[in-house]
């Protein structure tokens, strides 16, 4: 095989991996949008917050250390050597569930029957609140995330692919980050289990029922409030997974919340109400932007990855506004 061909394959594979990372964030959006019709602008910040909290627990940081020190003139920063990773993940999940519960009690409860735009504005407020709150709680410095996932290039793959190239050509093998492969595996597992849960369990059925019709859901004895707590907890869990993956890849920093914006074109492509859509949409965007950059990027000055996804989404909006897998809106008249 010619090195050029192998390069294209490498670009596609890397695009797939990047796409899965986008999908992880988009998934959180879809879950909440399906169940409550709220476009949760704060999903990216939730991922950031979850990652901050996880690192905080792992390294044994004292929450609100700056605040405490400023108020009482003390100098606390760490309460010990921290927890092991597994325990820290459990504790972070508990924090995310607590957060979902508080959110329902303090905010969402008062927003019942409000227009979607008001709920959307609420989540924008929530995003800024959480960003500030995370900053206050764990500090603004960039943190390293290490949950024990392997990372770095795969030498095995490099060796294997080196053998594929035709004799005498200068080819050094494919570079694929093992962390990306792990992320892909975990994302697939996550989607499968979420799908099974929503298809075959009572709570899953209740989730779908609420997503379908609030009024009908209430008449069959479903409490909207407890469903919302469950949905936001699941979204918190997805955010945690996304936070771990993105955090391990590029460090836990506040720009993490901006990856949420990349989920927007993913959603427009896949449809706001489809879980498979979020996955396929992410993959198309991931592969699309990498291939575009590889093939045409050089001609038009590069850095096309910054805007390619949005242009693709725009084109999609013109021809298929409900996305690839979204529900087509048909009004019976």
């Amino acid at each position: 095989m010619s090195p050029d061909f192998l390069n294209v394959i490498e670009v596609i594979l890397n695009g797939l991996m990047a796409g899965i990372m986008y999908s992880l964030v988009a998934l959180g959006f879809v879950l909440i949008f399906k169940a409550s019709g709220i476009f949760n602008y704060a999903q990216g910040v939730m991922a950031l917050f979850a990652a901050l909290t996880l690192v905080g627990f792992q390294t044994g940081q004292v929450p609100f250390a700056h605040l405490i020190n400023a108020t009482f003139g003390t100098d606390v920063h760490h309460w010990g050597s921290g927890m092991n990773t597994f325990l820290a993940i459990l504790c972070t999940m508990a924090v995310m569930i607590l957060f979902a519960w508080l959110l329902e009690r303090i905010v969402l409860r008062h927003m019942v029957n409000q227009a979607p735009i008001i709920l959307f504005m609420t989540t924008i407020g929530l995003a800024y609140f959480m960003e500030g709150f995370g900053d206050l709680m764990w500090g603004a410095d960039i943190k390293n995330m290490d949950v024990g996932l392997p990372s770095g290039g795969s030498f095995w793959l490099e060796d294997v692919t080196k053998g594929w190239a035709s004799e005498g050509s200068e080819y050094y093998g494919m570079y694929i980050d093992v962390l990306d492969v792990w992320a892909a595996g975990i994302a697939i597992l996550l989607v499968i289990s979420l799908t099974l849960f929503s298809q075959y369990t009572k709570t899953g059925r209740a989730l779908r029922a609420v997503a379908d019709d609030h009024q009908a859901a209430m008449t069959v004895g479903i409490s909207l409030r407890s469903i919302w707590i469950i949905v936001w907890s699941i979204a918190g869990f997805v955010a945690l997974v996304a936070g771990i993956m993105w955090g391990s890849k590029s460090g836990v920093q506040f720009s993490l919340s901006l990856i949420a914006l990349k989920a927007l074109p993913v959603l427009i492509l896949g449809g706001f109400t489809s879980i498979p859509g979020a996955i396929i949409g992410g993959l198309i965007i991931g592969i699309g932007e990498k291939l575009f950059e590889y093939s045409l990027g050089g001609m038009i000055g590069g850095a096309t990855e910054n805007w390619f996804a949005y242009v693709l989404a725009l084109a999609f909006l013109m021809f298929r506004p409900q996305g690839l897998f979204g529900e087509k809106i048909i009004e019976r008249v």
Partner: protein, 268 residues
């Protein structure tokens, strides 16, 4: 041929009682001082012209509206202000005038949601889908299949209900309410917009439900002929006030009812 006679001996104790219910939206009075009861095992009809407050009454019973005054008693106990889902968990199921089904879900899934109040395994067992959760699913599935047989909707078990014709959707909604094995079934215009054949089917289902399962039913209906045939007792509302209450034969001959609603003397 009044069906009410068949049932006369079977109605038992008072299941639901509303006492002096008054409901208003801002300055508009929807219900004024309404009291009536539903006895166990009977078919109770609420009739009245458009805007008489029939649906408001049903919404009060099922917890969607909260009256400013008055009390609702259910199974001998006074009910506090309840949310609709709490009412449902107490054993009151209902249908809506303008069908409220889960349109994206299959008939089977819609009926399974009807069993929601009867399922108790916690989220942990559900997540691993073994042990109690699996047993529970299968058990409820059996009951749902029974209802599917009863309503004769085997052929649309897997069809998303949004695709079904209107009459079928009404039937599925009835099935979902029935699946709750409720102590009290509230039907808001179960025959609205149906053709003669569909109406007859629906009538038969309502009577059979009452007969076979002993379900207590309170229903709102416009079709006077149907109401008089179907129900054991009828309460008549007009402009939010109660006009008459009693067995069909008495209500039919009540002068106030004739004036307000029937217009002409109804031959029997």
């Amino acid at each position: 041929m009044s069906e009410s006679n068949n049932n006369a001996g079977r109605t038992g104790e008072t299941l639901l009682e509303t006492k002096n219910i008054t409901l208003s939206f801002g300055g508009v009075k929807a219900l004024t001082d309404i009291s009536f009861d539903v006895k166990e095992g009977e078919i109770r009809a609420i009739i009245g012209p458009n805007g008489a407050g029939k649906s408001s009454m049903l919404n009060v019973i099922s917890g969607f509206y909260h009256p400013q005054q008055g009390e609702v008693w259910f199974r001998g106990e006074k009910r506090g202000p309840m949310k609709p889902y709490e009412v449902a968990r107490q054993g009151v199921a209902r249908t809506f005038q303008n069908i409220a089904l889960f349109k994206g879900m299959s008939t089977l899934d819609n009926l399974m949601t009807g069993r929601m109040t009867k399922m108790h395994t916690n989220i942990f067992w559900q997540a691993i889908w073994k042990g109690p959760a699996e047993r529970e699913e299968l058990e409820h599935r059996e009951r749902v299949e029974e209802i599917i047989d009863f309503l004769g909707i085997q052929s649309i078990r897997k069809t998303p209900v949004g695709r079904l014709p209107y009459g079928m959707q009404k039937r599925v909604e009835l099935g979902r309410a029935l699946a709750a094995d409720a102590k009290l079934l509230l039907l808001d215009e179960p025959m609205a917009g149906m053709n003669q054949e569909e109406k007859e089917d629906m009538c038969r289902f309502i009577l059979d439900m009452n007969d076979e399962f002993g379900t207590t039913i309170a229903l709102i209906e416009h079709d006077i002929g149907v109401v008089m045939d179907l129900s054991d007792r009828v309460v008549v509302l007009d402009y939010g006030c109660k006009l008459a209450d009693g067995v069909p034969d008495v209500v039919r001959n009540d002068q106030a009812v004739i004036d307000a609603y029937l217009g002409v003397s109804h031959e029997s």
